[in-house]
Amino acid sequence: MSKKVPLNHLRELESEAVYVIREVVAQFENPVMLFSGGKDSIVMFHLARKAFYPAKVPFPLMHIDTGHNFQETLDFRDWLVEETGVQLIVRYVQDSIDKGRVVEETGYNASRNKLQTVTLLDAIEELKIDCAMGGGRRDEEKARAKERFFSHRDEFGQWDPKNQRPELWNLFNGRKNLGEHFRVFPISNWTEMDVWQYILLENIAIPTLYFSHEREVFERDGVLYAKTPFLKMKDTEKAEKRIVRFRTIGDATCTGAIESVASSVEDIIREVAATRVTERGGRADDKRSEAAMEDRKIEGYF
């Protein structure tokens, strides 16, 4: 039954991520792992299971629910929780709106993406969370390229990009004062391709949204959006059935679909290898301005 694992680049990234996740459990008292139902958080959770097996994952998953999800994502989330016995915490953006903590955006491009930050920070405060692990990757966006594995947040949950702690060797400094917390990104060094190759290598289950399917979509500013009750269509916009899949899965109001016939992970890898647009190219949340991600991160976004 013995087996030698060769250390190719995926195994080295895996080893690094497992080390980081174990460091979190060793250094923090009340960590959570943020879970969106997207492939990055699914891979991160898979790594957490590997890190602690045969013990259970010693922290809960936390989902910040915008209420604008694809049903497939929620079904997948609930299936995974059932399957693995992990504890799940859900906090709703709708609750933050009802309490008057945030005001819902209006208009055709209204999205709850930005509002999530407040719900997340409120949850961190309410539950006394001292570390929230996220599936952010440095290759996603240029403000993320400067992010640390262990990223310090002040008592307002803010990120100070110009004053980050130096991070040397694999010595991670998670020391903080009361009320402050950390964001930790175990798969910082992974690329979109690494994530897909790893999903194939480890045979990890992912939501069906990632695979080619027929869906009613409409086009806006060059992005294909799914027709959902959450996104108001203009009179000039017409929905039609097309064969699509999603490259990233976020809130339904800001996640674009791509036309694709990729129906297996192998197909997706071939598609990613040939594609000439970044995966966030279909994300309306990043298109708002050149520093859109940087601004959201400073406020305390994922």
């Binding site: 045969p54 130096p166 520093a291």
Partner: protein, 425 residues
């Protein structure tokens, strides 16, 4: 059949981490942009974004340097503030670039980027030759023991691709590098702007017969970069499932710092010094025969010993150094100068302890490589040889022998900020 190879070829890919250092305007960002562009790691939307930005700035050609400036302040000031990480791959290797700014005041960023690198790419402007920054970059590569150094003599197009210029720079570099501890140094004449010898061979320099930068990065022999002789396993976390199925399971989770352990090896656990045998090595549901750096895994011991985070498992007959009085080279990273006699928190492998600064032996002038025995004030970006006393014994190797068990960081106990990077002498 051809399709299969696309998805499966990655199983043979290795990971190489390298750092790039250069001074302002020597074309470092252009070089990185070129590597990303020529290896097709730049996407259409990214290219369009920098095209728009280049036009807005009134530049003649697409400024590849704009790809690497992530923060608003950097774009506004046209400088790089922090270490940025970039990714690209070829069919052979995946690369992680730690892109560090080259200004004098950012030695700390260079040290950060160098700490995990297999290779350093040092840029020299062909028109200016070896300058103080070059010496500083080479010194840091040597101090941090980056196994491979590639000196790219850039902007060859601006010196008419002349071999004499390249030869003279190589000569000058060798002269001062004799004072350094560099083992594998290569030189390549390039033009990052035009692409000569970056990915594609130059048509302008027939006199250069060596490899291109990309060829070198793809083929550097990196298997020896980790210490393979001394098995070291710092215990990170103890796994006890508390379930019926795994009632008596007690596994020591961690990542091999160096060397290899095999099932059946006789080992010693520090600090207790008790000896036992490795019963099993697990990772997930796999039972492994062995574990080699930098693998993560879980070790199960034959005997029931008191082992917790901060302990280290080593071979029975292969000793590690231990002591409370430690001499080290330190790079100061903090805003506030180091306090002589001051107390700091210290992190070393999976251990947290405290230490006191006992003595500053000398400070290194990193522009001339001279040792200064008189000036004992250590401020940000200074590099010095100091001695410290720790609150409890440290189990370590010299940094020369082991980059994992020989490194430590100092933390300001009031602000919790990392203020020092230490390499044990």
């Amino acid at each position: 059949m051809e399709d299969k190879t696309i998805e499966r070829s990655y199983l043979d890919m290795e990971l190489l981490r390298f750092t790039t250092a250069g001074s302002v305007d020597d074309g470092k960002s252009t070089l990185i942009g070129r590597l990303l562009y020529d290896s097709k790691a730049i996407f259409q939307d990214q290219l369009e974004a920098i095209e728009r930005a280049s036009i807005k700035k009134g530049e003649e050609y697409i400024n590849l340097a704009l790809l690497t400036d992530g923060l608003r302040a950097e774009r506004e000031q046209g400088i790089t503030i922090d270490v940025a990480y970039r990714y690209f791959h070829t069919p052979k290797r995946k690369f992680i670039i730690a892109d560090t700014p080259g200004h004098v005041q950012y030695t700390r960023n260079m040290v950060t980027g160098a700490s995990t690198a297999n290779a350093a790419v040092i840029l020299v402007d062909a028109r200016h030759g070896v300058i103080e920054q070059t010496i500083r970059h080479a010194y840091i590569a040597s101090l941090l023991r980056i196994p491979h150094v590639i000196v790219c003599v850039n902007k060859m197009d601006l010196v008419d691709f002349k071999q004499e210029v390249f030869d003279a720079i190589q000569q000058k570099f060798h002269e001062f590098a004799t004072h350094l501890d560099l083992h594998d140094v290569r030189f390549i004449p390039i033009s990052a702007l035009l692409g000569d010898n970056v990915v594609d061979r130059s048509k302008n320099m027939d006199w250069y017969q060596g490899p291109t930068l990309m060829y070198l990065l793809e083929n550097l022999y990196i298997s020896n970069d980790y210490n393979q002789l001394d098995a070291r396993f710092p215990v990170q976390y103890v796994i006890r499932p508390q379930s019926i199925e795994f009632h008596d399971y007690r596994g020591y989770a961690g990542r091999m710092a160096s060397g290899t352990f095999r099932v059946g090896d006789r080992v010693k656990v520090l600090p207790s010094g008790f000896t036992t045998t490795i019963k099993a090595i697990d990772f997930w549901t796999d039972h492994l025969d062995s574990i080699t750096a930098p693998q993560s895994g879980t070790i199960i011991l034959e005997d029931d010993l008191d082992v917790s985070r901060g302990c280290m498992i080593i071979p029975e007959e292969n000793g590690v150094k231990q002591g409370q009085d430690i001499e080290l080279m330190i790079c100061w990273l903090g805003d506030k100068p180091m306090v002589p006699g001051g107390k700091y928190a210290l992190k070393h492998t999976t251990n947290d302890l405290r230490c006191m600064i006992k003595e500053v032996k000398y400070k290194v002038n990193i522009n001339t490589l001279e040792k200064d025995y008189d000036d004992k004030s250590i401020a940000m970006n200074d590099i010095a040889c100091i001695s410290i006393r720790t609150t409890k014994p440290l189990f370590y190797d010299s940094y020369r022998q082991n980059r994992v068990t020989g490194s430590l960081i100092l933390i300001d106990e009031a602000t919790n900020v990392t203020v020092g990077a230490g390499m044990i002498v």
